[in-house]
Symmetry: C2
Subunit: 323 residues, 2 copies
């Protein structure tokens, strides 16, 4: 973190498929100014950057001008830290390769660094959240998909090409696994994401006859929220769905531990709202599958950042090191 008082702030931008949130953050991790624009509104990346600039310019003035800002950090789908490009993101309005870091740096005239959403979350957690002081941990985001950011020796693992940390696409079911959006079968993401939970619910309800309050929802419309509400109300099948989801995650986590021996695995995203419903089976099945040297030693933690802030904070943390 900078000690240069004149460069005392960073900009964090969280680009999602639908919305983009941004903020100006100080060295203690407080978001001083906030704003948001619609990502989907812009057919061209140039008009997107223009609106982002128009939104940020007054906020920058309020904190004392661009000379106070050390850099911009952005988390975005399929963004590559090394190249500074967004590369073939299926959920964004712009096709192909977008040189987003260069475009932002040119517009704002300050250094800019980009990475994917899960890596940004890991950096945020390390700088301001549950992983403060940790040098070895794994961030797992449980949202529509399963994302991951891996920190070892105090550094994010980007890999040779900048795309390391695709743990949602490791294979958790080798035979007759579910078809994943990536084209492979049996990916962790097809079981352990919010959509995976809904898929499990549909599978169980379709193939069995047990009573369940979930049967009042049209099968095709079931969401992980429905399953959560039913489980809280005591529905046996709903609880079983979380047990199954946690088992998949726990078994996968044991393998992740064998890889990088993290101090903790930190969970973030919508599914973490289910609390112990998901945490207990994760812990149980991870422990069952760990080597003896790790049993009882690996922490599973929920992110300590508020969901509204964490994406912007995580992205902003990259801004301190942007060059």
């Amino acid at each position: 973190m900078t000690t240069n008082l004149s460069l005392s702030h960073v900009i964090g931008i969280d680009m999602g498929g639908t919305n983009t949130s941004f903020g100006i953050v100080d060295a203690r991790g407080e978001i001083l100014k906030r704003g948001a624009i619609k990502t989907t509104k812009h057919e061209s990346i140039d008009s997107y950057i223009d609106e982002l600039y128009a939104g940020l310019e007054p906020l920058i003035k309020e904190v004392g001008g661009i000379e106070k800002i050390k850099g911009i950090g952005m988390g975005a789908p399929n963004a590559n830290y090394y190249t500074g490009n967004i590369e073939f993101a299926p959920n964004l309005p712009w096709q192909g390769v977008i040189p987003i870091a260069n475009l932002l740096a040119a517009k704002f005239k300050i250094p800019t660094a980009v990475t994917n959403d899960a890596n940004a979350a890991a950096v945020g957690e390390m700088t301001y959240g549950a992983a403060r002081g940790m040098k070895d941990f794994i961030m797992i985001t449980l949202g529509t998909g399963v994302g991951s950011g891996i920190v070892a020796n105090g550094q994010l693992i980007y890999g040779y090409d900048g795309f390391a940390g695709e743990l949602g696409h490791t294979t958790i079911v080798r035979n007759n696994g579910r078809l994943c959006g990536c084209g492979k079968y049996g990916c962790l993401e097809t079981y352990a994401s919010a959509t995976g939970v809904a898929r499990t619910a549909r599978e169980i309800l379709e193939t069995r006859n047990d009573d369940s309050s979930l049967r009042s929802v049209t099968l095709d419309n079931i969401t992980s929220k429905d399953v959560f509400d039913a489980a809280i109300a005591g529905d046996i099948i709903a609880k079983e769905i979380f047990e199954y989801t946690g088992k998949m995650l726990g078994e996968a986590f044991a393998d992740f531990v064998a890889f990088s021996a993290p101090e903790a695995i930190i969970l973030f995203g919508g599914l973490t709202k289910s609390g112990n419903l998901i945490l207990n089976p994760i812990r149980e099945h991870m422990e069952k599958n760990l080597l003896k040297i790790w049993k009882g030693k690996i922490k599973i933690l929920f992110s300590s950042l508020s969901e509204a802030d964490s994406a912007v904070l995580g992205a902003s943390a990259l801004g301190w090191e942007a060059k």
Copy 2:
């Protein structure tokens, strides 16, 4: 690597369960002096250290004395880089926790660093071998067991506790997997090590009736060498055994790539003697299981160090950074 000319050599020690090899190595990675002692001979660690010292002392004199030596690096089973201890190694004559780095440093009066065998091999490969210039690669040792050393951002991943990189104990078969020496079921090591190959051979020969030259060997005595010889001679079942072994490795490698996106996976150890018999199915099944962004991009290489030298070289490379 040091630029201080007076500290121009390092000592590399490879402690195995049966034998210990050692050498004095110069900055270009040449082993100038060599020696070996029996590990098993020594009931106490002190007498082991004494014989090691007696073996090395004359060699040290021949290269110009201890003031030429920057440090000692040792690769040893269950050795922990952080603590400098060998911790509960099942295949060594000494029980419990052995403070091996401190014992060596006290005896030789120079800095000493230790790590496990596979990590030492990774450091050796990075310093002198096939991974020279690489910052992101995974070393896989295919011997009696399956070991691994993972390098990211140019650094070995030791993890929070120093035990990272146990990829031989990731689960490759989740249901009805083979029982592993570690107590878990379905570990990669039970399929892809030399003993795993022999186990596959016994399973296939026992459960099927196809003709095979392997049927001339007593089932309990079959080794991976027998399977290799039979495969080279054209035996169909023997080839099938390598195909199966390579499939297990290839599927596991695809998951490893999703973790750290390495430039290459480098193979070392007895099984690599089988060359394309193992390499072709590894490549085929890894490719099948990779995300699109990595297809055709991840190198699988054999170690470029001679088997006799690599363990000592790998250990010695640690000596340059011993403190």
